[in-house]
């Protein structure tokens, strides 16, 4: 169906359509595409329609409408929604009904957004293709044989398929930006601490951030304004005022210094000439808009992947210990004792990749290895942060590849975990540094979409979104073509 979120809100406010109509259309569209995409673990028609009726009542009674009033959105199944099953893509939580809502879910509710469903994801957000979901893979709306990226693949796929204008994802090492790149949408990983993690099922606590995934920069900015801010329930959320990100959107880049990372250019040059050419063209577009390109260096970024694969598994090995079958979720009985129950529950409940990372992390934290692995990884993390600090002395934002390839085919990398891990090569350093980064559509390689990554200093999302907006307005890459699935989905009753 959909137009942009801000267009839907305006139409509802002007009573051109009702919120119920908007939600019904989105639900119908989602249902029609499910057999092809499998973007959702669960649709929430009852909850969504009840909320939509409440919005229509607000419209009728002339109440002030929230900034996302009546806008259908999809949230990754990692966010707790009170009373609804929340699985994190795992069998171990297949029957877990959340007793409370995540702070970001409450914020979306309060802004009038209508959650139509919980989207598919790699189990516990561990993966780069959405193939690690316990509930089957999601497909890419631009190539039904291709992956949508991961771990926020469901949200990327449904926004890419233009079912909803806005989705919510989480990004630990690239889980918003990589699928955004694969599905031709805008995906924003905010500064660590900008958005509350309360009620978001933890993978790696020091890296996880929730962020918007949207059809365009304006919707992403609007959504970030809604979900950002200090939360007393999350000690790691930072108490800095939230600007109106939509006010910072600009159309030219006069006076903006854009850093180009030498190490990344070398790397992309080695991978695929077509990709290198696409990014070169993107930098030139930025230049044409008035930006000044400057060379910057991130000398320790090459250690990012190794560092990440110590810190994230270490944290996950501890975070996932609570899934033992004792209190909630799946349980497999033991031999009359609790420890065999724990073992069997976890053996049956977790998928291979999750187990792999729990084992990696347990090892990295073990006595005798802790200093060599975890402590050393934290030191390199500090060096990577310092690299960014130094780079941002020279530039206002960094522009670089989001990924080294467009979407790959399902199954192409499932047998080779390291090849899968390498998908996050360009996104992990920003996660380790905690700085904000986004991916914005930058064109096509082999007829598949590819995103440009824009990175800013901590808490300077406004600058980053401003640059992305100017680039988007000048290039219109996302609008240049239509996704495969949208062409083949006349049954979806797309009315626009």
């Amino acid at each position: 169906m959909a137009k942009a979120g801000y267009e839907i809100r305006t139409a509802i406010a002007r009573k051109q359509i009702s919120a119920v109509e908007a939600v019904e259309a989105a639900l119908a569209h989602a249902q029609a595409l499910e057999p092809q995409l499998h973007a959702y673990i669960r649709l929430l028609p009852e909850r969504a329609l009840a909320k939509a009726r409440a919005i229509d009542e607000q419209v009728r009674s002339g109440q002030t409408l929230g900034p996302l009033a009546g806008v259908p959105v999809a949230v990754k199944d990692i966010f707790c929604v009170a009373g609804e099953i929340t699985t994190a893509g795992s069998k171990i939580l297949e029957n877990f009904r959340a007793p409370y809502s995540a702070t970001v879910v409450e914020k979306l509710d309060n802004a009038g957004a209508i959650i139509i469903g919980k989207t598919n994801m790699d189990e516990f957000a561990m993966g780069s293709s959405c193939e690690n979901s316990a509930f089957g893979p999601t497909r890419n709306p631009w190539d039904l044989e291709g992956v949508p990226g991961g771990s926020s693949g469901g949200s990327a796929s449904t926004v890419g398929a233009i079912t909803v204008p806005i989705g919510l994802g989480t990004d630990t090492g690239g889980s918003i930006r990589e699928p955004a790149s694969f599905c031709n949408i805008v995906g924003v990983k905010p500064t660590y601490g900008r958005v509350s993690r309360y009620g978001m099922i933890a993978f790696a606590s020091s890296l996880d951030q929730a962020g918007p995934m949207a059809g365009d920069v304006l919707d992403a900015a609007q959504t970030l304004s809604v979900i950002a801010g200090h939360d007393p329930m999350d000690s790691t959320s930072v108490d800095i005022p939230v600007p109106d990100y939509t006010a910072a959107l600009r159309t030219d880049l006069q006076g903006v210094r854009v850093g180009i990372v030498s190490e990344f250019e070398t790397e992309i040059g080695k991978s695929d000439p077509a990709m290198a050419a696409l990014y070169k063209a993107a930098y030139e577009d930025l230049q044409r808009l008035g930006a000044r390109l400057v060379d910057v260096r991130l000398p320790h970024a090459r250690y990012g992947l190794a560092t990440y694969y110590l810190i994230a598994p270490a944290e996950c090995s501890s975070n996932l210990a609570r899934y033992d079958g004792a209190r909630y979720g799946r349980r497999v009985d033991g031999d009359g004792d609790v420890f065999t129950m724990f073992e069997r529950t976890r053996a049956a409940g977790f998928g291979d990749e999750v187990k792999r990372r729990i084992i990696l992390g347990t090892y990295a934290l073990s006595a005798g290895y802790y200093d060599a692995y975890y402590v050393r990884a934290q030191k390199i993390r500090t060096l990577i942060k310092q690299d960014f600090d130094a780079a941002f002395e020279l530039c206002d934002v960094i522009a670089c590849p989001s990924v080294s390839t467009p979407a790959f085919e399902l199954g192409a990398k499932t047998q080779d975990p390291v090849a899968m891990y390498l998908m996050d090569y360009f996104t992990i350093p920003m996660s380790l540094a905690g700085v904000p980064a986004l991916s914005v559509p930058a064109g096509y390689v082999n007829d598949l979409p590819v995103g440009l990554q824009i990175v800013a200093r901590a808490f300077e999302e406004a600058t980053m979104l401003g640059v992305a907006h100017a680039y988007e307005r000048a290039t219109h890459h996302a609008q240049a073509r239509k996704p495969q699935v949208a062409l083949s989905s006349s049954a979806a009753g797309s009315g626009s």
Binding site: C80, L93, S205, R322, V338
Partner: protein, 486 residues
Amino acid sequence: MSQQTPVQDSTRYEAVIGLEVHVELSTHSKMFCGCRNVFGAEPNTLVCPICLGMPGSLPVINRRAIEFLCKVGLALGCTIAAHSKFDRKNYFYPDMPKNYQISQYDMPLTTGGSVQLPSQKIVRLNRIHLEEDTGKNIHAGGHMATSDYTLIDYNRAGVPLMEIVSEPEIASPEEAEEYLVQLKTVLLYLGVSDVKMHEGSLRCDANVSIRPVGSTTLGTKAEVKNMNSFRSVVRALQYEIQRQEEAVRKGERIVQETRNWDETRGLTYSTRSKEQAHDYRYFPDPDLVPLTIEQGMIERWRSEMPEMPLTKRQRFVSAYGLADYEAGLLTSDRVTADFYEAATAESKEPKLVANWMLGDVRKFLEKHGLTLATSLIRPQPLAALIKSVTSGNISGKAAKEVCDILVAEGGDPQNIIEKRGLAQVSDEAAIKQVVDEVLAQNQDTVASYKAGKVKALEFLVGQVMKASRGKAKIEVVRAMLLERLG
């Protein structure tokens, strides 16, 4: 007995004990969530997504728990860390909702400090750190291995728990008890815990080893757990020290292990747990930011500290002329000490107030199953009662009766004296009448007194007192009898 006593039998051994004391802090809410922190509620009614470790929930530090712990640190002369942090202690156990415990590993809130025993001995502290308590497993068959099922009560999960770790400097079970009593007194003074060992708000584990007297190296230690009262700490330590000594004398080697105290059988037994094999994989909790404690905050806490028991005890000796022993009893808890000072201020009779409080008041409290905190007796009425005795308004015997009532029911001594007609009679006319009656009824005794049997006088005094139901002032009675008989 035998002349062939083995050489090692002449060796004398000494015990080396270190205590790890866990104390639940009596904050209003739990350590990392808003759930109420109280003992004895219906199982699993004081829980929320956070203390149940629900997916997505996050901890938030209870500032009051930090304050409580730091005040304990200040009272015990510890160094408060300017920078501290919380770590995760990872291990699987069903009473722990997250299968890790948020604790402190290498940056505890305080280091150093000491507990001074009444004997003047100083037991140094290693550290005090803060963590969250676990839930409670309730095994249907009393023990996990023999139960068909286990119920878990998570009310206690997430309650702030302070761990006070001593250096291995305690030399005997009795000294361990003194240490615990002293610690308990300090904690009660600060009001940071209710320190009830039977409710588990104070729990104690002991590291015990022995070594030949004079040796400076530490022997292999056993960790003794499951001691549920101060008395069981003493018994368990006595047993364990003896066990180790016997083992060593038999030429056996002490193994490092955890041993549980069995209260009914009066012995410790090896848990055969793989405790030593545990690797807790501590790492900083990424859900919490490091703590910084500003000097100004420490100064504010310091200014809010009450006078500590030992200081108070010394002051009671110097200011009120009490014996050290009396001062010790009167400062054993804050309620008693405050009561004493209030009653003394009112009566200006420091010595008498001490006598009353340590004598009759204590006796009647016991009789009624009360404590100073639960009794209705107040310092001002006790002071008034003492004045009534010193002024001769009532007899010592009558005063005891009033004291009994004050302890049981509270109230004002003057009212009780009037209502019960306990006022002492010194009116000579009234006494004369009773004396006359007694003399008339005891002609024989009068005669024997006059015949030289001096003791007969005391009989007559007793008769007069009895007839006046104890109200007649005894000095007046004796003088009057002597006058009449002389």
